[in-house]
C-alpha cells in the first residue's frame, strides 16, 4: 500500500470505509493502520488523544478481517475506526476523564456504549482528550494539556470533547464519541467544522460514562458528515437495563432520516433569543444563510420566542455543580486512582483531602465548592430548588415551541474557535460558549450541530433542536441541509481545513 492510498483511506467517510472492507477493497487492519500512522505522525501537534491503543485497535481490526474471511456477515460499521472520549470506561485500558486523580487507572469493566461499539465491530483507536470530568469548553481544563484545533492550532477545539472533534477534523478517525452535558459534543463540533449529536436524554446508556452531572450527561455520536453520525447513533442507542434513566423505547429511525434529503413542508423555528449582542456577525451571517437554504428547500421558517432560555445558563450553573459535588465525592483515594499522603503519618480523612487537593484541577474544585454551597442546608431552596423551577420553565418553552414547529434552530455557539488561553482565566466568558446549547440539556431534548459555513476562515455550526425522542428530525433537517450546502460549495466544508 502506497502513502497516497493511505492518505486516501483517512479522508474517506465511515460509510465508504465500511463498504470497502465488506467488498474486500481494503482490510480492516489496513484501515486501522492508516489511521494509527496518521495519529503517530500528526497528533504530536494536535494532542487529540490521551491514549492510543495500537495493539487493541489492530487486534479488533484483525478480528473483523477474520470474520469476513470466514464468510460471516459484518455490521454496517464493521472495521471503521473510532476515537472514544476518555470519560467512558474501557476494560484494562487507561481511563482518566482528563483528570490527574484517575491517572493510571485501568477500569475492570467496559461501559455499555463501549460494549455496543465492540459488538458492532467498530475499531476503537484510543481515548481522546477532554476537559477534566467534562467541565469546560476548550479542553484547556484537561490535566494533560490542551488539544489544538486542526483549523488553527493556536485556537481551541471546543470542549469538553475537543479531543474527539479534533480527531475528526484532523482525519485521525472518521467517527468519534463525545458526551454532552451542556454542549460538550455540539460546541466542539461547531468550532471544528464537524457533526455532533446530543441524543434525547436516556437515548444512549450512561452505564460506564464517568459522571459529570447525571441529569444532564448524554453520550452521542460525532462524525464528519450527517449519515456517518446517524449510523453511529444507531449502534450506540437503545435501552439498557443498567441505566435506570435509559428510555425503553425503539430508537428513532435516524439513518432513514439522514438519507431522506428532503424537508418540504417541515416547520422550522428560529430561536429569537439566540442572536444579537455577544454573537459574532460572521456566525450570525452563516447561520442566516443556512436558514435561507432551508427555506429554499421548502421548509416553513418562522421566528419563535423561548423567553426562559435566557435563564438557562444560571440555572445550569447551579444544577451542574450540585450534582458534580456529589458525583465526584467517590474520588477519595480509597479504592482506585491517585493516593497522596499515605505514608503512615496521616489519617484516612487527611489522605482523602490531600488526594483531592492534588488530584483535582481548579475548575473542578470551583464547581465542587459551588455545588456544595448550593446544596447546603438553608440555601437549597434558594439555589437548587429555584434552578429546578427554571428547568421546568425551559421544558415548557420547548413544549410550546414544538406545538408550532417541528425543530428549532440557532447558532450552536456565539463565536468561532477562540484563541487558546483567551478565556482560560475568565470562567464566566468560558461559560458563555454554551449559552445556546444548555437549554436542550436542561430539558432532555435531542439536539445537534452541523457545519454551515466559515467566518474569517473558521467553521460555524448550526444547532438543530428536536423534541424528546424525535432525534430523527435532527437528521432529516441536517441531512438535507448538508447535501444542499455541499452541492452549492462543490465540496464538504472540512476540505477547507489545513491538511496538516
Amino acid at each position: 500500500m502506497t502513502d497516497s492510498s493511505t492518505g486516501d483511506l483517512v479522508r474517506r467517510t465511515a460509510v465508504d470505509l465500511a463498504a470497502m472492507i465488506t467488498k474486500g477493497e481494503a482490510t480492516a487492519v489496513e484501515v486501522a493502520q492508516a489511521h494509527l500512522d496518521r495519529i503517530d505522525a500528526v497528533d504530536g501537534r494536535i494532542h487529540a488523544f490521551l491514549h492510543v491503543d495500537h495493539q487493541g485497535a489492530l487486534a479488533a481490526a484483525a478480528a473483523v478481517d477474520a470474520k469476513r474471511s470466514a464468510g460471516e456477515s459484518l455490521g454496517t460499521l464493521a472495521g471503521v475506526p473510532l476515537a472514544l472520549k476518555d470519560v467512558f470506561t474501557t476494560a484494562g485500558i487507561p481511563t482518566t476523564a482528563g483528570s490527574k486523580i484517575l491517572e493510571g487507572w485501568r477500569p475492570p469493566y467496559d461501559a455499555a456504549l463501549v460494549e455496543r461499539l465492540r459488538a458492532a465491530d467498530i475499531v476503537i483507536l484510543g481515548k481522546t482528550n477532554c476537559d477534566e470530568f467534562a467541565m469546560g469548553s476548550s479542553t484547556e481544563n484537561s490535566a494533560y494539556g490542551p488539544t489544538h484545533n486542526p483549523w488553527d492550532e493556536t485556537r481551541i477545539p471546543g470542549g469538553s470533547g475537543g479531543g474527539s472533534s479534533a480527531a475528526l477534523a484532523a482525519h485521525f478517525a472518521p467517527l468519534a464519541i463525545g458526551t454532552d452535558t451542556g454542549g460538550s459534543i455540539r460546541q466542539p463540533a461547531a468550532v471544528t467544522g464537524t457533526v455532533g449529536v446530543k441524543p434525547t436524554y436516556g437515548g444512549v446508556s450512561r452505564y460506564g460514562l464517568i459522571a459529570c452531572a447525571s441529569s444532564l450527561d448524554q453520550g452521542g455520536p460525532c462524525a464528519r458528515n450527517v449519515l456517518d453520525a446517524a449510523l453511529l447513533h444507531e449502534v450506540i442507542a437503545g435501552h439498557d437495563p443498567r441505566d435506570a434513566t435509559s428510555i425503553d423505547q425503539a430508537v428513532p429511525a435516524v439513518v432513514e432520516a439522514a438519507r431522506r434529503r428532503e424537508i418540504g413542508g417541515m416547520r422550522i423555528g428560529v430561536v429569537r433569543e439566540f442572536a444579537g449582542e455577544g454573537y459574532e456577525p460572521g456566525v450570525l451571517a452563516s447561520v442566516r444563510a443556512a436558514i435561507d437554504v432551508l427555506t429554499e428547500l421548502g421548509a416553513d421558517v418562522v421566528e419563535v420566542s423561548c423567553p426562559s432560555f435566557t435563564y438557562a445558563l444560571p440555572a445550569y450553573y447551579l444544577i451542574l455543580p450540585s450534582e458534580v459535588s456529589s458525583n465526584l465525592a467517590r474520588f477519595d483515594a480509597m479504592r482506585f486512582g491517585l493516593r497522596v499522603g499515605d505514608d503512615g503519618t496521616h489519617s484516612a480523612e487527611e489522605v482523602m483531602a490531600m488526594t483531592r487537593g492534588a488530584g483535582f484541577g481548579p475548575e473542578v474544585k470551583r464547581r465542587i465548592i459551588l455545588g456544595t454551597y448550593a446544596l447546603s442546608s438553608g440555601y437549597f431552596d434558594a439555589y437548587y430548588g429555584q434552578a429546578q423551577k427554571v428547568r421546568t420553565l425551559i421544558a415548557r418553552d420547548f413544549a410550546a415551541a414544538f406545538d408550532q414547529v417541528d425543530v428549532l434552530v440557532s447558532p450552536t455557539t456565539p463565536t468561532t474557535a477562540f484563541p487558546l488561553g483567551e478565556r482560560a482565566d475568565d470562567p464566566l466568558a468560558m461559560y458563555l460558549a454554551d449559552l445556546c446549547t444548555i437549554p436542550a440539556n436542561l430539558a432532555g431534548n435531542a439536539a445537534m450541530s452541523l457545519p454551515v459555513g466559515l467566518s474569517d476562515g473558521l467553521p460555524v455550526g448550526l444547532q438543530v433542536m428536536a423534541p424528546v425522542l424525535a432525534d430523527d428530525r435532527l437528521y432529516r433537517v441536517a441531512g438535507a441541509l448538508e447535501h444542499a450546502l455541499d452541492d452549492r460549495r462543490g465540496h464538504a466544508l472540512l476540505e477547507k481545513a489545513p491538511t496538516l
Binding site: 447525571s214 435506570a244 446544596l375
Partner: protein
C-alpha cells in the same frame, strides 16, 4: 460501672423526678437475593470483598438500578405497620465522607419516604398486668447499607486511635429499611420494657413477612435508641441522645435504662445533656460518646438523579396487601383460643421470643403443650446461659418436634430428651443421630428390663413386701432403683407397670 457510682442515678430514683421520652430507629437488612442497586448476592459471612461489583464499589461510571423486590418488601412492611404508601416518591443522596461508603454518599430517602404514618401495638407487663400500648410509626424508608470497617490497633475498636483500617464492601449496597417511631412520651418507668417489646414485636412482624433474617447479633436488625429526659411536669422535652450498636433485645432495654440514669445524673449535677451519638458497650453495660463533631453534619440531601421516581399504583399496593400473612398479634389472639392459654402464658411466650418457634414446632407435629414446655424450659435455660436469643440457638423447631415425638413414642424419657437437645445445641447432629451416637435410647428390651425389675425386687424385699400389702406409693422407691440400675435409660412408666405386674395389682 455499677449503679452506685455518682455518674448514674439509680433507676427508680431517676424516674421519681424525671420523665423520659423514647424514640427508636430500627434498621432492617432485607433478605433479598441481590443488593439494593446491583446484582451482587447478599449472603452473610462471605470472604471480605467477594460480593462486590463496579456498582456497589462505587467505581467511576457505575450506575444504580433499583431492586424491585426490595420495593415490594418495604411496601409490605409499611402496610403491616398500618402506614400510608406514597403514590410517588424519590430516592435522595445523603452526602458525607467515610471510607466504608463507596460513593461517599448514601442513596436513601429524605423528605419523601415510601411509607409513613403507621402504628404498632405492643404488649408489656405492668403493675396492673399485661397492657397494650400503641407506638406511632413516623416513617419507613429504603436505603443502602454501607460497607464494614475493621479498625486495627487502638483501644476501642473504633476509628479514633486506630493504626489502620480494613474495609469490607460485601455489605455495601444491601437493602436497608429504616423504621422510625414517633416520640413516645408519658410511659415513665415502663420505657425500657416498651423499647424492648417494640423491637421484639417489630422483629416478629418482619419475620412473619419473610423479608429479613432479623438477626440482631448478625446486624440484620439494628436499633438506634433515642432517649431524653426532662423534670416531671416540665413543658418541654429534654435534649436526646442517640445510642447505636445495640445488638440484642436485652441490650435495648439496658441501654434505655442506663441512659435514663446517666442523663439524670448529668441534670442533677446542674449540667445539660449533650445532643449526641453514643455507643452501647455490651461488656460494661454503659454508653460512651461517639467522636464529637465541632459542627452539625450537613448531609446536603438532594434527589438522586441516577434513579427514577418510585410510583406504585394503588392496584399494586392492594395486590401486596393481599400477600400479607397473619400478623403476630392476630396470630396470638387465635392461639390463645386454640391452645387454651392464659394471657400470662402468652406473655411468657412473647417475652421469651418463643411464639414463632412454638408455632413452627407445632406445625412440625408436636402438641402445643410439649412444644411450649421445651422452648420455655430446657431451651430458654440454654439461651440464658449463653446470653443469646432463643431464636439464635442452633436448634430448629423441626428438631424440637422430633424430640417430642421420640418421647411420645417411648423411645426417650424427659431426662434423655434433655441430653439429646444438649447434643443438638452442641452441633452433634439430628436428634436420632445423637440418640444412636450417645446410646441414649430407653431400655425397651423387655427381657433386660424384666431382669432389672426382678433384681430390684430381690434387693429390696421389705419394700416389695409393702407393695404386696397394697402400699402402692412405695413403688416409687423400686422404680428409682431400676432407673439407677439402667442409668436412667428406662421408661419409668413401663418399669412401674412391670413392678405392679409382679407384685400383684392393687384391688
Amino acid at each position: 460501672m455499677s449503679p452506685s457510682t455518682p455518674d448514674l442515678v439509680p433507676y427508680d430514683e431517676a424516674l421519681s423526678r424525671y420523665a423520659p421520652v423514647l424514640g427508636l430507629e430500627v434498621h432492617v437488612e432485607l433478605s433479598t437475593a441481590s443488593k439494593m442497586f446491583c446484582g451482587c448476592p447478599t449472603g452473610f459471612g462471605a470472604e471480605p470483598n467477594t460480593q462486590v461489583c463496579p456498582v456497589c464499589l462505587g467505581l467511576p461510571g457505575a450506575l444504580p438500578v433499583m431492586n424491585a423486590e426490595a420495593v415490594d418488601a418495604v411496601i409490605r412492611i409499611g402496610l403491616a405497620l398500618g402506614c400510608d404508601i406514597a403514590p410517588w416518591c424519590r430516592f435522595a443522596r445523603k452526602n458525607y465522607f467515610y471510607p466504608d461508603m463507596p460513593k461517599n454518599f448514601q442513596i436513601s430517602q429524605y423528605d419523601e419516604p415510601i411509607a409513613y404514618g403507621g402504628s404498632l401495638d405492643v404488649m408489656i407487663d405492668t403493675d396492673d398486668g399485661p397492657q397494650t400500648f400503641t407506638v406511632g410509626i413516623e416513617r419507613a424508608h429504603m436505603e443502602e447499607d454501607t460497607g464494614k470497617s475493621l479498625h486495627v490497633g487502638g483501644a476501642t475498636g473504633r476509628i479514633h486511635g486506630a493504626q489502620h483500617s480494613l474495609v469490607d464492601y460485601n455489605r455495601a449496597g444491601i437493602p436497608l429499611i429504616e423504621i422510625v417511631t414517633k416520640p413516645v412520651p408519658g410511659l415513665g418507668k415502663y420505657v425500657p420494657e416498651l423499647a424492648r417489646a417494640y423491637v421484639g414485636e417489630l422483629r416478629d412482624i418482619l419475620r412473619s413477612l419473610d423479608v429479613s433474617d432479623v438477626r440482631m447479633e448478625q446486624g440484620s436488625l439494628r436499633c438506634d435508641v433515642n432517649v431524653s429526659i426532662a423534670p416531671v411536669g416540665a413543658a418541654e422535652w429534654g435534649k436526646r441522645t442517640e445510642t447505636k450498636n445495640v445488638n440484642s433485645l436485652r441490650s435495648v432495654e439496658r441501654a434505655v435504662r442506663y441512659e435514663i440514669g446517666r442523663q439524670a445524673a448529668v441534670l442533677d449535677a446542674g449540667g445539660t445533656v449533650k445532643q449526641e451519638t453514643r455507643h452501647w458497650q455490651e461488656g460494661s453495660g454503659t454508653t460512651a460518646p461517639g467522636r464529637s463533631k465541632e459542627e452539625a453534619e450537613d448531609y446536603r440531601y438532594f434527589p438522586e438523579p441516577d434513579l427514577v421516581p418510585i410510583a406504585p399504583t394503588p392496584e399494586r399496593v392492594e395486590e401486596l396487601r393481599g400477600t400479607l400473612p397473619e400478623l403476630p398479634r392476630a396470630l396470638r389472639v387465635r392461639l390463645l383460643g386454640e391452645w387454651q392459654l392464659s394471657p400470662l402464658d402468652m406473655q411468657a411466650l412473647i417475652n421469651a421470643g418463643a411464639v414463632d418457634l412454638v408455632v413452627a414446632t407445632v406445625a412440625a407435629g408436636a402438641p402445643p403443650a410439649d412444644a411450649r414446655k421445651w422452648w420455655l424450659g430446657e431451651l430458654a435455660r440454654a439461651a440464658n446461659e449463653t446470653g443469646t436469643e432463643l431464636s439464635a440457638l442452633p436448634v430448629t423447631p423441626a428438631q424440637v418436634a422430633q424430640v417430642v415425638e421420640l418421647v411420645a413414642d417411648g423411645a426417650l424419657n424427659d431426662k434423655l430428651a434433655r441430653q439429646v437437645l444438649e447434643g443438638v445445641l452442641a452441633g452433634e447432629g439430628e436428634p436420632d443421630e445423637i440418640v444412636a451416637a450417645r446410646g441414649l435410647a430407653v431400655v425397651s428390651d423387655e427381657g433386660a428390663l424384666g431382669k432389672a425389675v426382678d433384681a430390684a425386687i430381690a434387693g429390696n424385699p421389705d419394700v416389695a413386701g409393702k407393695i404386696r400389702d397394697g402400699k402402692v406409693a412405695a413403688t416409687g422407691a423400686l422404680v428409682g432403683a431400676v432407673m439407677k440400675a439402667t442409668r436412667g435409660q428406662a421408661d419409668a412408666a413401663r418399669v412401674r407397670e412391670l413392678l405392679l405386674e409382679r407384685l400383684g395389682p392393687p384391688e
